[in-house]
C-alpha cells in the first residue's frame, strides 16, 4: 500500500491505496465524489476530466498514487454556499446540456481553458474542448456558454 496525501477541492485528505488503483475509483468509491463520470475508459471522451494541479486530467487513466502531494479539483468543488460557479451557471443559462453525463467533464475542461486563456477565440475554444464528447446536444450551446464567459 502507498500513502496518498492530497488536497481534494481544497480539503486535505490522507488515504492508503494500492498502486493499481485509479484516481477515478478513489474519488468515486472512497471519497464519494461521484460527479466525476467514467465512460470510455481510454482517455477519449473526457467525461472523467478532473484538474490535477490545474491540469485537465483523465481520472480514469491516472494512477491515484500519482496525485500524491497534488491539488485535485472535481465538479463538487465548484459550487460555493449553494451557488453554482460562473461556468456551471453559464451551462445552465444556455441549455448546454441534455442528459448531463458529460457535463462535469466539460465544466472542468472549461475551467482549465479559462485559466490558461483569458479570452479564447472560437478556434481556441473548439480546439481545447475537442477531447470532450457530448452525444446528446451537440456542441453549439456548449460553445455559446463558454463564449458568454469571455
Amino acid at each position: 500500500m502507498h500513502d496518498l496525501a492530497f488536497a481534494v477541492n481544497g480539503e486535505q485528505r490522507s488515504l492508503q491505496v494500492e498502486p493499481r488503483e485509479l484516481l477515478i475509483d478513489v474519488l468515486r468509491n472512497q471519497l464519494g465524489l461521484t460527479g466525476t463520470k467514467r465512460s470510455c475508459d481510454v482517455q477519449v471522451c473526457g467525461a472523467c476530466t478532473v484538474l490535477v494541479d490545474g491540469q485537465p486530467t483523465s481520472a480514469c487513466s491516472t494512477l491515484a498514487v500519482e496525485a500524491d502531494g497534488c491539488a485535485v479539483q472535481t465538479i463538487e468543488g465548484l459550487a460555493k454556499d449553494g451557488r453554482m460557479d460562473r461556468i456551471q451557471q453559464a451551462f445552465l443559462d444556455h441549455g448546454a446540456l441534455q442528459c448531463g453525463f458529460c457535463t462535469p467533464g466539460f465544466v472542468m475542461a472549461v475551467h482549465a481553458l479559462l485559466t490558461q486563456h483569458e479570452k479564447p477565440d472560437d478556434a481556441t475554444i473548439r480546439h481545447y474542448l475537442h477531447g470532450n464528447i457530448c452525444r446528446c446536444t451537440g456542441y453549439v450551446k456548449i460553445i455559446e456558454a463558454v463564449k458568454s464567459l469571455v
Partner: protein, 288 residues
C-alpha cells in the same frame, strides 16, 4: 477495468533506475506519462509485476538549447513541448504537431519519450521527427548512445531500445536557413490513420538543396519517400509543387499499409498521399 496488481517504484536518480531495471528485467516496465501503457494494462493485454516511474528523476523533462539542436527531455509532455518558447521559435512545425496530438488531457499527461518508446504505430511524432533529422539519446548503466529517429522504430511496438536502456532526450537539429517543415494528419478517435511530414530546404538561389518526406501511421514504422526527396533537389518552389504528386506516386503505391480497424490499406495509401502533399505544400512556402 481494474488493473492487475503490480509494485510501483519511484527512483530519484538514473543509477537507482538502472539498478531497478537490472534487478527486475523483463518483469518491469518503465512508466512515463502512462497514456499508452495504462490503457494496455487496463485492457490486460500487458502485465508487468513491476512498474518503474520516471517522474521523480530530476531533469528528464527539461527542454534546452543544446547549441546546434534543441534537446527535448524524454519526459516533456506534448503540451509542454507545444508551448515551449524554444520549440515554438526553432521548430514551429513540431510545436504545431504537439498541439494537435489526441486531446488536451493526453497532451498534458503524455510524454514524447513514452510515445516513441511505446511505438504504437498510430502516432504523430515519429514521422515528423524523422523528417527533422532528430537523434535519440539512450542511456544505460554502462553509458549512453545515440540512435537516429529514422532507425529507432523497427515495427509495431518494437524499437531499438535495448534491455536496461532508457530514452533520456530527443535531439532535434535547429533548422538551417531556408528550411521549413510541416506535418499533416488525418485521424478518427484521436489517433492518426495516416500522417505526412515534409521538410524542404531552399538555397539562396531559390533551388531546393535538401528535402525529406516521411509517411507515418500507415504501417509499423514511419517510411521515407527517398526517391521523391531526391527528385526535388535543384527544383524551385513552383517546380516542386508541380512535380511532387507524380514524384511520390510510386513510393506511395509501394507502402505496406495494413488493413485494420483504422481503415483498409488502399484507403490509408490515399490518405498518406493527401497528407504528404498538404504537408509539402505548407513546407514549400516562404516562412511568414
Amino acid at each position: 477495468m481494474l488493473l492487475r496488481r503490480f509494485d510501483l517504484h519511484k527512483p530519484e536518480t538514473l543509477p537507482a533506475l538502472f539498478d531497478l531495471l537490472d534487478r527486475h528485467g523483463e518483469e518491469a516496465s518503465v512508466l512515463a506519462g502512462g497514456t499508452e501503457l495504462l490503457i494496455a494494462l487496463k485492457a490486460r493485454v500487458l502485465h508487468y509485476p513491476h512498474l518503474i516511474s520516471l517522474k521523480a528523476i530530476a531533469g528528464l523533462a527539461d527542454i534546452v538549447d543544446a547549441g546546434d539542436c534543441i534537446s527535448i527531455g524524454a519526459l516533456a509532455t506534448h503540451d509542454a513541448i507545444a508551448r515551449h518558447p524554444l520549440v515554438c521559435r526553432y521548430l514551429p512545425g513540431y510545436a504545431a504537431l504537439s498541439d494537435n496530438i489526441a486531446n488536451i488531457r493526453v497532451r498534458c499527461a503524455g510524454t514524447l519519450g513514452g510515445n516513441l518508446c511505446f511505438a504504437e504505430p498510430h502516432a504523430d511524432p515519429p514521422a515528423m521527427l524523422a523528417a527533422l533529422g532528430a537523434r535519440l539519446r539512450l542511456q544505460s548503466a554502462t553509458g549512453s548512445r545515440e540512435c537516429a529517429m529514422a532507425d529507432f522504430i523497427h515495427g509495431d511496438f518494437e524499437t531499438d531500445r535495448q534491455p536496461g536502456e532508457i530514452l533520456t532526450a530527443i535531439l532535434v537539429p535547429k533548422p538551417v536557413s531556408g528550411h521549413r517543415a510541416a506535418y499533416r494528419c488525418y485521424g478518427a478517435s484521436h489517433r492518426p490513420v495516416a500522417g505526412g511530414a515534409a521538410a524542404i530546404t531552399m538555397d539562396e538561389a531559390g533551388k531546393c538543396s535538401a528535402a525529406a518526406f516521411w509517411i507515418g501511421a500507415v504501417c509499423g514504422r514511419p517510411v521515407a519517400l527517398e526517391q521523391a526527396a531526391l527528385g526535388v533537389i535543384g527544383m524551385d518552389r513552383a517546380e516542386i509543387a508541380q512535380a511532387l504528386p507524380a514524384l511520390i506516386a510510386p513510393e506511395i503505391e509501394a507502402l505496406e499499409a495494413s488493413d485494420d480497424n483504422h481503415g483498409a490499406g488502399d484507403y490509408k495509401r490515399h490518405l498518406a498521399q493527401t497528407m504528404l502533399l498538404r504537408a509539402a505544400q505548407a513546407a514549400n512556402t516562404v516562412a511568414a
